[in-house]
Symmetry: D2
Subunit: 95 residues, 4 copies
């Protein structure tokens, strides 16, 4: 299920930012940075993970069910199985 | 505000796991992995960030207010300012 | 966009449970119940709201895009507008 | 563990609002309101539950560890047990 090149680039950029945040946090811990500052950085890393999730979810929904994907979409997809998989993931957020 | 060596090691281990997850996700995107699988991996990365937050928050609360820290705690801390900072961070989770 | 009678009944049952939780919490506050116990009850109410969200989201996705709804679905729906609305709501969870 | 009268009033007001939201949602479901609108209302109810949690958590932390409560606080509280209970609840948010 290939992304568009632009989608891929955006997602890879987000992932390298998250990697950078994790590295910066590790340095901060080594240097004994104050917990309050660490907690803020961790909240920012979590926010980045949520932003990544929203981006991939958005393009996944459009790829599956959006109008523009009608031409490119494989002839038959199993919408119910796709919705099952989506809900299984979303329920981890809806606890 | 130094951590105990064990605390530091645990937090650093969690951070390198998150870094590894971000790298694995970047490879998966490059390889055009199916979105459903990506969404599960991103949810796992987010779970790791939440686990890290819980770990650091736990040791922060104990360091500030726990009984064991009485001896080691600096003479005067400003509990109200610490609670302000804590709540400011926690509200980002309680939206 | 009518629900099935069973869907409706389940959602209404969940809502009356949430209402009951709110009333029980109000009594507990009036009686000066300990904060720890209140926090647990509030977390349960939030969990119930999340469960309700998952239930309605699940039936909404199936109604819009599921195979079973092909026969009953209005001739033309605007999938992109529906995905926009869905993502707008989901982003409130993905912060 | 009595609240101040102002605290109590604020929390009770929040709870009656949540009750009102649940009742309004039940009416909306009965009337067959569109799912998108319902999802927005449920997200608002969840936001209200989160706001309530933040409010009670804030006053609980101040009551336990804040400077102003020094005079009124019972002679000996078990900070470690209180932190255990707090983290147990917070981990439900940090999943």
């Amino acid at each position: 299920m290939p992304y568009s090149p632009e989608d891929k680039k955006r997602v890879i950029t987000r992932l390298s930012r998250i990697k950078g945040q994790a590295e910066a946090l590790a340095r901060a811990v080594e240097e004994g940075t104050d917990c309050s500052a660490l907690l803020q950085q961790i909240a920012a890393l979590r926010g980045a993970a949520n932003g990544l999730m929203a981006e991939v979810l958005d393009s996944h929904l459009r790829e599956l069910f959006g109008s523009s994907s009608n031409a490119t979409r494989p002839a038959v997809i199993d919408p119910d199985a796709e919705i099952d998989a989506l809900m299984k993931m979303l329920r981890t957020y809806l606890k």
